[in-house]
């Protein structure tokens, strides 16, 4: 099978590579672009841990071919924060409202929330729950995730400013 040349803009940076046509977008992001914040949970299009934005829309990157993203823009969780420790209001709200426990679903949850809040405001709780219905969380029971999204909405209504957060360096291995 012949390889394909693709060019995908990931978080504003153009990544070019020669790939096997069957390479999934999530593998392009993790292995070619080296960004491991996007997770593979189920690998069967059910959990949403792999959620990224493709030309501004939240999609499951385990069910998109990298080839389908050729020439398009991808935003991952790494693309939300500014630099090392300036968090986007959605990220900060998840920290403050305990929107995560183990964190496995979190990057996907945040990407879906980010897409949602950029599309619509004044969300009812029902709309929020419907919007995250493609993202599964095994830890939180969703209550604190809904709280986080509501908090993020309030903060984004006030200002879109990034918030400085001291992120402790990871210790050990």
């Amino acid at each position: 099978m012949s390889n394909l040349k693709v060019s995908i803009t990931v978080n504003g940076e153009r990544k070019e590579a020669e790939i096997e046509p069957r390479m999934l977008l999530v593998h392009f992001i993790r292995e070619v672009a080296g960004l491991t914040g996007t997770h593979v949970g189920c690998d069967t299009t059910n959990c949403g841990a792999c959620t990224v934005l493709l030309d501004g829309r939240a999609v499951k990157s385990c069910t998109v071919l990298a080839a389908q993203a050729n020439g398009k823009k991808v935003t991952t969780i790494e693309g939300l924060s500014k630099g090392e420790n300036k968090l986007h209001p959605v990220q900060k709200a998840f920290v403050d409202k305990h929107g995560l426990q183990c964190g496995f679903c979190t990057s996907g949850m945040i990407m879906t929330s980010f897409w949602l809040l950029n599309k619509k405001r004044k969300l009812s709780e029902e709309e929020i729950r419907e919007a995250i219905s493609g993202n599964l969380c095994r830890c939180t029971g969703y209550e604190s995730i809904v709280d986080s999204i509501q908090e993020a909405e309030r903060r984004m209504d006030e200002s879109e400013e990034y918030i400085e957060e001291e992120i402790p360096a990871r210790r050990g291995r």
Binding site: P21, T45, R57, A58, V59, V64, A67, E130, G134
Partner: protein
Amino acid sequence: MMPPAFEYMAPTDVDEAIDLLNRYGDDAKILAGGQSLLPLLKSRITSIPYLISLSEVKDISYITDGKNSLKIGAMTLDADLEYSPTVRKNFPILSDALGQLADPLVRNMGTVGGNLSHGDPSNDLPSVMLALDATFKIRGKSGEREVHSRDFYMDTFVTALEHGEILTEISVPYWPAASGGAYVKFRKGTWNFSVAGVAVQLQLDNEIVKKAGIAITSMGPTALKASEAENYLKGKKLTAENVRHAAELVVAASQPSSDSYGSVEYKKEILRRISVQAIKKAQTRAEVK
């Protein structure tokens, strides 16, 4: 999970895609949003040596108001149709179905044409198109043809699409004033697909049904049109008794099989109940307009 290896081609117009389909014969298949095809490939239920992607084809993703019908390009995303103001206003039956189809992330990638071409009896859009009397524009090597939705669904994963043909456009006729529709879907647990779904579109004239379109999801080898129920309602008032009888005729049109979703009897009971709900909801919407 890696799909089995394939060659990937992304032509920029429909005719080129048709040429490629014809060149590679049975070894080739169209890739639209991939939300049905990629899971099948990843789990290795199928393998396809040549994938012809429509993602780079221009002018095949649109929603336009025609004179007598709404025209939907086959590569229109489910999400774009869901949020379209003209769909919300004129076809609440479609908004009902799209809002419950898979999840918002799948709808951001899946296409209307893919949902209709796949021929999965559990897909939600086929029965809605049957109820609305939609027609499909199909293009192949020898030109273009129109197929009515009622002649499109033949068997599970088998449609009127011949090999080498592409569905390019869906045409949904505008129903006259005093029309309304609803789609009711019954799911079990968190699984997206329905145990049963029913689409009902009604046109009323002073409380009398002038025309009815009714079709069902997940209740047989394909989406099924409930023609007897449609004919029965014509010329009648929607009294409780008539609605109950129509629902009975919808159940009579179903061909469910017993599986992990439930027994035949259970599924028929579900369908009976959601048919009554859908007819009443369609009636309310037809009266409001």
